[in-house]
Amino acid sequence: MTDWGGWLSPGEAQALWLSLKTGVVGTALSLPPGIAVAWALARGRFPGKFALDGLVHMPLVLPPVVTGYLLLLLFGHKGPLGHFFETHLGFTLAFNWKGAALASAVMGFPLLVRAIRLAFETVDPRLEAAARTLGAGRMDVFASVTLPLVMPGIIAGTLLGFARALGEFGATITFVANIPGETQTLPIALYSALQTPDGEINALRFVGLSILLAVGALGASEYFARAQQRRIRGHR
């Protein structure tokens, strides 16, 4: 933090740090269920698959405010899940950075699942059958054949979800409000700056910061995806 003090104001540094923290935590937590759901959607045959597909894509098509409000209803102090977390697990999600992480995770989830699902669909099941005749059980095949082959998709999906999480605004501000240092991520700080008289310069600085972050995430995504492709199929 202190290193950046020279060219970032404390408020800016705080917003940047919060964005990164909620984005990383939210994306990391949504990765395991994301892989599971992507696998189920790509390979599974079960009743309710269509409904699950719809549910996963819901945040993509719902107005973010609606998603945020639904999160508030579910995870707020009085919400059924929020109440359960508070009384049994001793932590709250409403109006703190954990809630912001949850909101960004929910909003990034469809993109993450979509990329990983597409990767699962390109894995040839005949390779998995071959692995089983070579003595590998189902879980072993998943870990030693399937997962390495979907790794480019997982990386792409993770970075896509992360980039989406960084830009999260509507659901976050609805669910956990706009609390500097707690839930005021970059987009929300930018919004606040715009609400302030003579805040345009500050707003522009937030804009620049957001663009840098987004470009960085996309660049990293491209780099890792290419490296993985090279590892699997050689130069293209």
């Binding site: 005749t133 054949v145 390495p148």
Partner: protein, 374 residues
């Protein structure tokens, strides 16, 4: 010789196709042949455990893989059945060496052949560090064979391992497969729709057609049946000419002219020199289109293989041609494909003695893909 005996008796119905097969296979190579859609791959899939029969039993030696009456189903990873697929199916994210070791790491060291031996036999030592996408089709298939062998199988399934390769690659890989079967004491099922491959590799054959076993037994005995030949060749059986598989022996070697004389049971065929000792068995395949007929003993002819025969029967093959069945000696049957006009002009009728001129012979030997008869 291992006494591992495979017993299969299963019924399975997938998407309207009903498979209902029963056969046994012992040591050596059992060829499974039939037109596409006969249920060959489905049968192998059931034996490997990749699909589950609706009813029946599959037993290898003492191991019951499937017994639907008992509710037994051993998953593929615990069957020790090596499977070489039509496509190599190498893992693209692993090097050749890692592919080879994939099964070995999970099943422990192979009892039959060491890693070195397998690599040596298949000639894949220079490929070990490569990635599968840098291999040619034939190289990939050799690696796939090595990978299956190193997983310590007790039974080897080969599902048309040559069919995805062009003729040159086939010729390149065939000697490896032959060497493998000579070297290994491993019961093997070799699936093909190509009679020549089966003639060359198999000790016994099971003919599948429409999901059923149409015939099974010794290769020559089964594949010389015309009904079996037309089953295998399918709809265009009329266009394809009948062929005779002959279990021959090396009778004499003519060192001066580099020739080998083969005893085909009642007659002698001379072919280009074979690297085989006198008395060694050779399997030949003689196509009707390579046999011409003469009503008198021909003289002044470059074709040296002239066999005395008698016409057994004549049947039409298409609009302009005929297949003439010839009996040679006591139990050898040959076919000659000639035109209607030739038959009319020569006045060929059953019972008439003729001379069969053999233009070329397909040899199912170790070294030659085919040799011209002399």
């Amino acid at each position: 010789m291992s006494d591992m005996r495979l017993k299969v008796a299963i019924a399975q119905c997938v998407e309207g196709f009903a498979l209902d097969v029963a056969f046994e296979a012992g040591s050596g190579v059992t060829g499974i042949i039939g037109p596409s859609g006969a249920g060959k791959s489905m049968t192998l899939g059931a034996i490997a455990g990749l699909s589950r029969p609706q009813s029946g039993r599959i037993v290898l030696g003492e191991n019951v893989f499937v017994d639907t009456a008992q509710g037994t189903f051993i998953p593929p990873e615990r069957r020790r059945v090596g499977y070489v697929f039509q496509e190599a199916r190498l893992f693209p994210h692993l090097s050749v060496a890692e592919n080879l070791d994939y099964g070995a790491r999970r099943r422990g060291t192979a009892s039959g052949m060491s890693r070195m031996e397998v690599i040596d036999l298949l000639g894949i030592a220079p490929l070990l560090d490569r990635r599968p996408h840098r291999l040619s089709g034939g190289e990939a298939q050799r690696v796939a064979i090595g990978r299956a062998l190193l997983a310590a199988p007790q039974l080897l399934l080969m599902d048309e391992p040559l069919s995805s390769l062009d003729i040159r690659r086939r010729r390149e890989i065939m000697p490896f497969i032959e060497a493998l079967h000579r070297r290994l004491d491993l019961p093997t099922l070799f699936v093909s729709h190509n009679i020549d491959e089966i003639v060359r590799l198999a000790d016994r054959v099971v003919v599948l057609h429409g999901g059923h076993v149409a015939a099974s037994g010794g290769v020559a005995e089964v594949l010389n049946r015309l009904d079996v030949q037309s089953l295998i060749l399918g709809e265009d059986g009329g266009a394809a000419d009948p062929a005779t598989i002959i279990e021959a022996r090396v009778a004499r070697r003519d060192e001066a002219y580099h020739l080998t004389e083969l005893d085909i049971g009642g007659a002698t065929l001379t072919v280009a020199e074979l690297p085989l000792e006198t008395g060694a068995p050779v399997r030949l395949r003689l196509h009707a289109r390579d046999v011409a007929l003469a009503t008198e003993r021909p003289s002044g002819l470059s074709i040296q293989n002239v066999i005395e025969a008698q016409i057994a029967s004549i049947r039409p093959a298409g609009t302009s041609q005929l297949d003439v069945e010839l009996s040679v000696g006591t139990n050898l049957r040959l076919y000659a494909r000639i035109t209607h006009r030739a038959a009319a002009r020569l006045q060929l009728t059953p019972g008439r003695p003729v001379w069969a001129l053999v233009k070329s012979v397909a040899l199912a030997s170790d070294t030659n893909e085919s040799a011209h008869s002399l």
